[in-house]
């Protein structure tokens, strides 16, 4: 949802998946490890086609499975390298153990999930039903993952760069939670500028914890998530929780459309938000004061902003390509002050703007 007028010289037309691959190379990613699955296979295909090992030296490797991919990411991240993987829903389920380990070991990594319909092997069509898995912790233990929800091809590129920055800032895995529409759609994009990969010397300064070989003048670095002493394990948990509170304070991102005077607020992310924006246009054309709030970060969630709109609106509608997951966080933010209704489609069906407009009218009648 990028409205900046871009210089036509540098504007390119590409799929969301391709934009991620280009952005990864350009932001100095050191390694990509993945296993193909629709609807995100173009990420690895594009990387293989661009052959960045000949230019920036970035490693691109097709692993034997998703489980192997995420553990290769763990290894790369342990060396302070910018490491990433990508998959789609069933593949990301296989990665959950590795993600929990990354969080427990306080390692920076970027994981892309281009969601498809589930449960099970499901369908290859777009879905948003992995919201709970991503923001409530699909793996075990008390961890959180910063989660970015792109809604355009431009954001697929921009969020790749941002995800690495956040991962290294907070030493945590970061998820880019997209869906099949954003992955497969072509739109205009301006790619980020090239940043060189860090040298080993630069990594040693930036990541003193990295396991890059022990010099004589310091103690060994260990990277693990096992603490047999409960007190030490609680210390790690307290440290993580305090970091998550800082993230909640500093990193919330959202976008608003026609919210200033809105009597009815739609809350939606990713592709659903694009569809809802059109529904808001339809409502405004009929004199209905509707607005849209689009969370860009799903963790941290824009709780405060949604709570603020509970004071000015008569009702809210959450729209998702799922049975209703984010709606729970919207209801927590609103805390019963106004009705929060839900409209969703499942299993790979994308709601149409007409469907959303009808759901909005039902909310208003109530």
């Amino acid at each position: 949802m990028n409205n900046k007028k871009k210089d036509t010289e540098e504007v390119r037309l590409m799929k969301g998946n391709e934009a991620i691959a280009h952005a990864a190379i350009r932001c100095g990613c050191d390694g990509y490890f993945g296993y193909p699955i629709t609807p995100q296979s173009e990420i690895m295909e594009t990387l293989m086609e661009l052959e960045p090992w000949n230019t920036t030296g970035m490693v691109v490797l097709q692993a034997e499975s998703e489980t192997a991919s995420i553990n290769m990411v763990y290894g790369g991240a342990g060396c302070g390298k910018k490491s990433m993987t990508s998959s789609s829903s069933p593949g990301v389920s296989l990665m959950q153990e590795g993600i929990s380990y990354l969080a427990g070991a306080e390692l920076p990594a970027v994981i892309v999930n281009v969601m498809r319909g589930g449960p099970g092997l499901g369908t290859i069509q777009p879905s948003q039903a992995d919201y709970f898995q991503t923001v409530k912790g699909g793996g075990h233990g008390d961890y959180k993952m910063i989660t970015l929800a792109p809604a355009s091809v431009q954001e697929m590129a921009d969020h790749t760069v941002m995800a690495f920055d956040l991962a290294f800032k907070y030493l945590t895995p970061v998820m880019i939670l997209a869906d099949g529409v954003i992955g497969q759609m072509m739109e205009k994009v301006v790619l980020p500028p090239f940043q060189p990969r860090l040298t080993e010397e630069e990594i040693k300064i930036k990541c003193p914890w990295a396991t890059l070989g022990k010099p004589a003048n310091r103690k060994p670095n260990y990277i693990y998530s096992l603490q047999l002493e409960a007190e030490e394990m609680e210390d790690l948990n307290l440290r993580l929780q305090s970091r998550y509170r800082t993230i909640e304070k500093n990193e919330v991102l959202f976008e608003e459309f026609d919210c200033e005077d809105a009597e009815y607020l739609i809350v939606a992310f990713g592709t659903s938000a694009r569809v809802c924006q059109k529904a808001v246009e339809m409502a405004r054309a009929q004199g209905i004061k509707a607005g849209l709030l689009r969370p860009i970060t799903l963790f941290p969630f824009p709780t405060e902003q949604i709570s603020h709109y509970a004071n000015q609106t008569k009702g809210m509608l959450t729209v998702e390509m799922s049975a209703g997951q984010m709606v729970e966080d919207v209801r927590l933010a609103v805390n019963g002050r106004v009705p929060v209704e839900f409209y969703g489609r499942m299993g790979g069906i994308v709601p149409s703007p007409d469907d959303v407009f009808e759901a909005l009218k039902k909310l208003i009648v109530k």
Binding site: L13, T123, M186, V275, A279, G348, S352
Partner: protein
Amino acid sequence: MKEEIIIAGFGGQGVLSMGKILAYSGLMQGQEVSWIPSYGPEQRGGTANVTVILSDERISSPVLSTYDTAIVLNQPSLEKFESKVKPGGTLIFDGNGFKKFPTRTDINIYRIDATEYAMANNESKTMNMIILGGLLKVRPIVQVANVLKGLKKSLPDRHHHLIPMNEKAIQIGMALIKKVE
């Protein structure tokens, strides 16, 4: 200006690439564009479709339920999309193999027998460009010069010698399309 287009037909008719050429043409004239294919199992032998939006303003939903223009290249696509053309909108069909024809009276209907022409003249590779030419005759949403620029941008260098052939196909399509009264 905003044009919401669906192009639908059998896999292999060049539906997705026709959409891509339109999108690139829009890019060349500095418009906002979106291109979203049906990437499901239907593209493997069944029907394929692509939604293309060209707009002077920012594009909200790339997924639509009604269209300004529908281009349908087979019977199932006509049945699926005829009802989804906005009143006053445009429906273009290639009549090859059709048993049932469009019936609406509140839209502009055009027929272009591109498949028949392409087979008779050994032009099957440019069939989709003939149809694109027909579209541009009745809905001049992009200039032909920008289509050619778009082709240059989207095709690898080794295929640039094919551009004049594609330009000719556009001209043929412009002559071939007929309004159905």
